[in-house]
Symmetry: C2
């Protein structure tokens, strides 16, 4: 089969949509936060996630030094503060007062009170790539609040996460639910 | 500062929202596709991405053997087929006829015609984790169609991607745009 109407748009085209997170670390004694979309879960048990941080970023120093970091998921009400953390570097601006900070088990993984979900991670492996360091972290604690639960379970519609689209560079709310996983696919064999 | 109203919900709580992709490989001579949400860009230049595949998955065999894979981003019209690819294993069902397949530069990275974005990747590094293998791949080609472009640029609103939420296990459309990156954050210093 040929390529039909497909056109090559070059290898640098980004993946999308991406989750939006604030990664926290202690740098030079103070909490610092960086906007990060290059993040994913990578292992089931133990729960591991991987986060790619540019080698030049201020936050990266703190993760290397303490081998701990936090991942905070902001709700839509924090879109401006989230963008701000990617616009200004901790090298120039002290971002430690931007949010209320708390700690879980790890004393060098600053967690953001205003975010509906907080994960604290211990680095278990680091992969050096040309422009980025890929930190693989074990999640040792996850925090939320009662108001984000429904029937005792975390409820994404209350947490109101948002996503980041490249190449436009825009943030988007979630819209309509279009299906249940492990269920909607069952109708496929019949309709083929 | 104490934890205020925060409650510990345990380390296994997932990241969200996650992108939804179909990862393709050649396994036992045939194209096979697996639904994958554990994926992220990890390096700027060269363009590298990381994908975590369960060691037990059929697709994983093909990526290990040929050291190539594809990443295909489905639009909302493919939600059922996408879910199906995660429900049934290539060990039991031949998924090679589910989509129209084409190839770019790599002859062992099957690309899906029906998906608005296709990336073909060559594995440059593999990290062995307890339950998953983390493949770091260099993107060597990206494909779309003219109908998904606006002013010559890929237009996400035409591509209509969707996201996956855990722990509910649900697929969601994108909703309203809530801000421009590198812009909306500029208002923060003034309002603090």
């Amino acid at each position: 089969m040929n390529k039909m109407n497909k056109i090559n748009i070059g290898p640098s085209f980004p993946l999308y949509p991406m989750p939006v997170t604030l990664v926290g670390a202690i740098v030079e004694g103070r909490p610092n936060f960086l906007t990060v979309a290059w993040i994913s879960r990578v292992n089931l048990d133990p729960p591991l996630l991987a986060v790619a941080l540019n080698k030049l970023r201020y936050t990266t120093r703190g993760v290397q030094e303490h081998r701990t970091f936090s991942v905070n998921i902001p709700g839509v009400d924090l879109v401006a503060e989230t963008d701000y953390c990617g616009l200004v570097s901790g090298k120039e601006v002290d971002k430690s007062g931007l949010f209320q900070v708390f700690y879980g088990e790890l004393k060098t993984a600053p967690l953001i009170r205003e975010c509906p979900l907080n994960l604290e991670c211990r680095v278990v492996e680091m992969v050096t790539l040309p422009t980025h360091l890929l930190f693989i972290g074990e999640v040792v604690g996850a925090y939320t609040e009662e108001r984000f639960l429904s029937d005792g379970k975390p409820d994404m519609q209350r947490m109101k996460p948002f996503v980041f689209l490249r190449p436009e560079g825009t943030y988007w709310k979630l819209g309509e639910k279009i299906g249940e996983a492990y269920r909607i696919g069952k109708e496929v064999p019949g309709r083929r």
